[in-house]
Amino acid sequence: MTLNSSDKNTDNYDLVPKDHMVMVSYRGIFKSVTSEYLLNWIERFYSRQELHPNIKLKGVFRVSVELIQNLIHHSKNSDSFFFVSRSHNGDTCAVGTSNPVTNDQAMILSTTLTTLKNTTQSELRGLKMNVLDEGVRSSHGGGGMGLLDLTKISCGNIKYEFLPWSQDKLLFCLTIQLHSTPD
């Protein structure tokens, strides 16, 4: 990773797992039209990727939707990044994003993700039902379910890190992996 706080020489492709090749990537500001373009691309090209049959388009699509919409709602930064990659043997697909966040946001994200990663699948389902039944929602309709759902879809195969970015921000890097044989 070449990123540092002085010149932001980020190579976003360092976020892509080492044995993977990129299917689609985008760096810039995320808007509704960007989302539409990326999701259309994923759908059109998925069938050409010869992924393991257990890695279904629906799973890749759902993860992509949540991650892209997280960026639309929570990041107005032109350095936001999204990618979909696949392992060379086709048994793993990764979907990832990075975007600058404040230290306070990083604390909240870190606490939430640590908790979710240590939660079993059945507990995640219970949490999801609880949020669905009783949870509050944000102005755009979400209810804090995005990270919960991503953890559940990936069976906990969710990786994150915060890298130096600027004096008052960190780069939040999040990667969701979908495996042909989930743990």
């Binding site: 939707v65 919409q69 639309i72 389902r125 669905l132 929602r137």
Partner: protein
């Protein structure tokens, strides 16, 4: 009450809310960035219909939905549940789609109305 018929887009579902048939159908995909904008009028319409005499049938046949739509679907079903005991829900899922089956089971566990989970052939 007028019918609500909306053609689906790449992000929003087909909607057929029919007054005389007393049926509501959502099909396709539901992944709008702001689901409240899309669902608020549908929830109001459902409330109006359910407060008139007669049974109501809800058919949900979605391919994908995002998490904000899942909250709005819950709001729709809760509003129907609160307005009438004379409603039933049919939840369609493709037979290999475990996520959509599980989602239906979760709504069924929360909503106290007759709820059918119906497997369909893979398209």
């Amino acid at each position: 009450m007028d019918n609500i018929i909306i053609s689906g887009t790449s992000k929003t579902p087909d909607v057929a809310f029919l007054t005389s048939a007393r049926t509501m159908k959502l099909s396709g995909r539901s992944i709008p960035e702001n689901s409240i904008d899309f669902y608020a009028p549908l929830i109001e319409w459902a409330d109006g219909l359910c407060n008139t005499e007669g049974s109501v049938e809800v058919n949900i046949h979605l391919e994908y939905f995002n998490t904000s739509s899942s909250k709005c679907l819950m709001d729709l079903l809760k509003r129907i549940e609160a307005s009438t005991e004379n409603a039933s829900i049919n939840w369609y899922y493709e037979e290999d789609d475990e996520d959509m089956l599980e989602a239906g089971e979760d709504y069924d566990a929360i909503i106290d109305l007759p709820f059918k989970l119906i497997a369909t052939e893979i398209r």
